[in-house]
């Protein structure tokens, strides 16, 4: 399956496709002579058959225990039952820490630190916000806000900008014509245009000169039941300022925290219904 036909498919779109890994085993049976040998052969065969019959089930059960509950089978489409989102606690986001940005860059293959701030792609950036009246300031990571009502999707003439059923906003690089209207429409300056030829791309994050791109919420990881690279890096650094999860699942940590604490969504007044929440701003 290519990434161009992913909207209703299993790939997730905007990313490379994970191929289903198949495993096969060769059974090596050795035979003997005589009744004992025949009995041994029968018993061995029966046990081997039993093993073969049961092993996949046992293996699946074992995998099921180790795979996160949110992992989606590769042949199943995404569902609107989920609304993936992020909660970012600016109070825990350390000034000067750039681990989320570096992790995103490493995971998705865009260059960081940037050499040309005006033209290089930046899927995520650290923003310093200062109140000019009292001088107080804080920093936070800014990326695609994965809006429920995304202006970038509304304006895209070809439908290359699209929103998955689970709320993740992506760019289909197969039909993006590079008109940049989505960049004009995005209130968050979340999108980048690829200004130069690219080399050494990541298999799961294909990019292309002349196309627009932005944070994919690490859709390739999310579909495997993992968390986005930025969230993982923030936790690894010990800040735990970012939480990823299903906003539609009342039992998820993100949903509980959003329901418990006062949170803010950036430019919520525009009615875009972002999937990224901020705390302590």
């Amino acid at each position: 399956m290519s990434c161009g036909d992913t909207k209703a498919g299993s790939c997730g779109g905007g990313c490379g496709c994970a191929s289903k890994a198949g495993a096969g085993e060769a059974l090596n049976l050795t035979g003997g002579s005589g009744v004992d040998a025949a009995r041994r052969f029968f018993l061995k065969s029966a046990s081997a058959f039993t093993t073969l019959a049961l092993a996949p089930g046992v293996t699946l059960m074992a995998f099921a225990e180790s795979t996160p509950a949110s992992a989606r089978p590769a042949d199943q489409p995404v569902s609107s039952k989920n609304r993936w989102g992020l909660l970012i606690d600016a109070g825990k986001c350390a000034d000067g820490c750039n681990d989320c940005v570096t992790a995103c860059s490493t995971e998705n293959g865009w260059a960081s630190p940037v050499k040309h701030p005006a033209t290089d792609a930046q899927w995520i950036r650290k923003l310093t916000v200062r109140d000019p009246k009292n001088g107080s300031s804080y920093s936070l990571p800014m990326m695609c806000q994965h809006c429920a009502e995304p202006p970038c999707v509304d304006v895209c003439p070809t439908g290359a900008s699209f929103k998955r059923a689970d709320g993740i906003v992506l760019v289909d690089r197969h039909i993006c014509i590079g008109c940049r209207y989505c960049m004009m429409a995005c209130p968050y300056k979340a999108r980048s245009f690829v200004h130069e030829p690219l080399h050494d791309q990541k298999e799961h994050a294909p990019r292309g000169k002349g196309c627009v791109e932005s944070c994919t919420m690490c859709v390739h990881r999310v579909d495997k039941g993992e968390t986005p690279a930025c969230v993982e890096a923030c936790a690894k650094a010990g800040h735990n300022a970012m939480i990823f999860g299903d906003l539609n699942d009342p039992s998820s940590e993100i949903a509980k925290r959003v329901a418990t604490y006062r949170t803010t969504r950036i430019r919520d007044d525009l009615g875009t219904d972002p999937g990224v929440y901020y705390q302590n701003i």
Partner: protein
């Protein structure tokens, strides 16, 4: 009943061939610039991740807006039954098609992936005003072509009802087209200097002005080429009056647009940027758009109608100068609006100051690169080359105008 005869261009002056050759060269150079930009990517342009639409869009939108306005003369003759305008209706339709072709060529050639034009023509998101515009633009070509057919075909031209119906349809369509073009900007909720329903009527008024200015200049050029006075003094006077009205209409919508923004405290900073602190954008707004593009043409045209004005210069000369000034003002308007609107930073945290490695909170730097300018000029030349060739192969120009009393 008016009987009008039309002519093809056949007795060519060196000026005609010179102009055609010039336009062909400019187009060739422009295509070279496109190849250069596509090969290296937009890194060789002045555009960046904040100013994503640069000089090519200034040219493209200007030509597209002017295209709709170029149909003015035809509309006045068919829709409003002004027979005096009829001799110029064919040229008006031709110019509309040519200007639109030039503008669209620039728009398409500036895409990040121009080779995917077929995708844009076959895969639509009908919530996008861009998609609507694809229909509005292609529809405009078809409708104006039919309109021209009703004027030029021997059989069809004998049926005034047919011509009138086509004229009305084209008139409504061109209003929709310019509404769509203005709304490309008017629908952008996050851009303070665009987000307004007034963008549509402002663009419509601007289209009337720029379209008529183009028509006047082509007509006067053809007067030189044919060595005939294609326009009567009455027509020159009428065009003079129309140009004044259109310039004042643009001025009116410009004033209302900015006054509305100034009234809302949330937009003060953005307004102060474009009106006072925006450097080149402020300069182009006040000097280019307001002074050169609107006030000076109005003053010149009004003065040219007075006794002392007539003694000083002919109305034709005044009309020519005013048309050139209006077009210079039009480019200034487009540049200050399109580029200035992007250069002003997005307000992510109203009332706060923001900074980042992505240059958030800063006025974005933009300087047009040579390839961008060459592509834009090629768009103008495409339009003019189409007009030049069409005038040679088909009878678009009036020869002599005789009226039966």
């Amino acid at each position: 009943m008016a009987r009008i005869t039309f002519q093809k261009l056949d007795d060519h002056s060196p000026l005609f061939w010179g102009l055609l050759a010039l336009h062909a060269i400019v187009i060739a150079v422009g295509l070279g610039a496109v190849w250069y930009m596509e090969h290296h990517g937009h890194i060789v342009t002045g555009m960046n991740n904040a100013v994503v639409w640069g000089t090519p869009h200034v040219f493209a939108v200007f030509l597209i807006v002017a295209a709709s306005g170029a149909l003015n003369v035809a509309s006045i003759s068919s829709v409003f039954n002004r027979l005096a305008y009829k001799p110029f209706a064919r040229l008006s339709g031709l110019l509309a098609i040519a200007l639109l072709a030039g503008g669209l060529a620039v728009l398409v050639l500036d895409l990040g992936r121009p080779e995917r034009l077929t995708v844009a023509m076959t895969t639509y998101n009908f919530k996008s005003i861009f998609s609507w515009n694809i229909y509005l633009y292609t529809g405009f070509f078809a409708i104006v072509a039919v309109y021209l057919f009703t004027m030029m075909d021997r059989g069809a031209s004998k049926n005034p009802a047919l011509n009138k119906a086509a004229g009305w349809f084209a008139f409504v369509w061109r209003l929709a087209l310019t509404t769509g073009t203005g709304s490309i900007f008017g629908f952008l909720i996050a851009r303070e200097l665009y987000d307004s329903a007034l963008m549509a009527p402002l663009f419509i008024a601007a289209s009337f002005l720029y379209g008529l200015a183009f028509t006047v200049l082509v007509l006067f050029t053809m007067c030189r080429e044919t060595r005939q006075a294609l326009l009567s003094e009455e027509m020159v006077s009428s065009f003079r009056g129309l140009l004044v009205i259109f310039a004042l209409a643009v001025l009116y919508f410009t004033i209302v647009f900015h006054l509305t923004n100034l009234y809302a405290a949330e937009h003060w900073k953005a307004e102060m940027f474009i009106l006072r602190d925006g450097g080149i954008y402020t300069l182009l707004f006040w000097v280019g758009h307001i002074l050169v593009g609107l006030l000076m043409p109005t003053a010149i045209l009004l003065y040219a109608g007075t006794t002392s004005g007539k003694a000083m210069m002919s109305e034709r000369r005044a009309l020519t100068i005013a048309s050139v000034l209006a077009l210079i003002g039009g480019m200034s308007f487009m540049y200050s609006t399109i580029i200035g609107g992007q250069a002003y930073p997005l307000d992510l945290f109203p009332g706060k100051e923001v900074s980042s490695s992505f240059l958030d909170g800063q006025v974005s730097a933009y300087a047009p690169s040579l390839p961008e300018v060459l592509l834009g000029l090629a768009g103008v030349s495409i339009a003019m080359l189409i007009v030049g060739v069409a005038l040679k192969v088909m009878p678009f120009l009036p020869k002599g105008v005789e009226y039966d009393s």
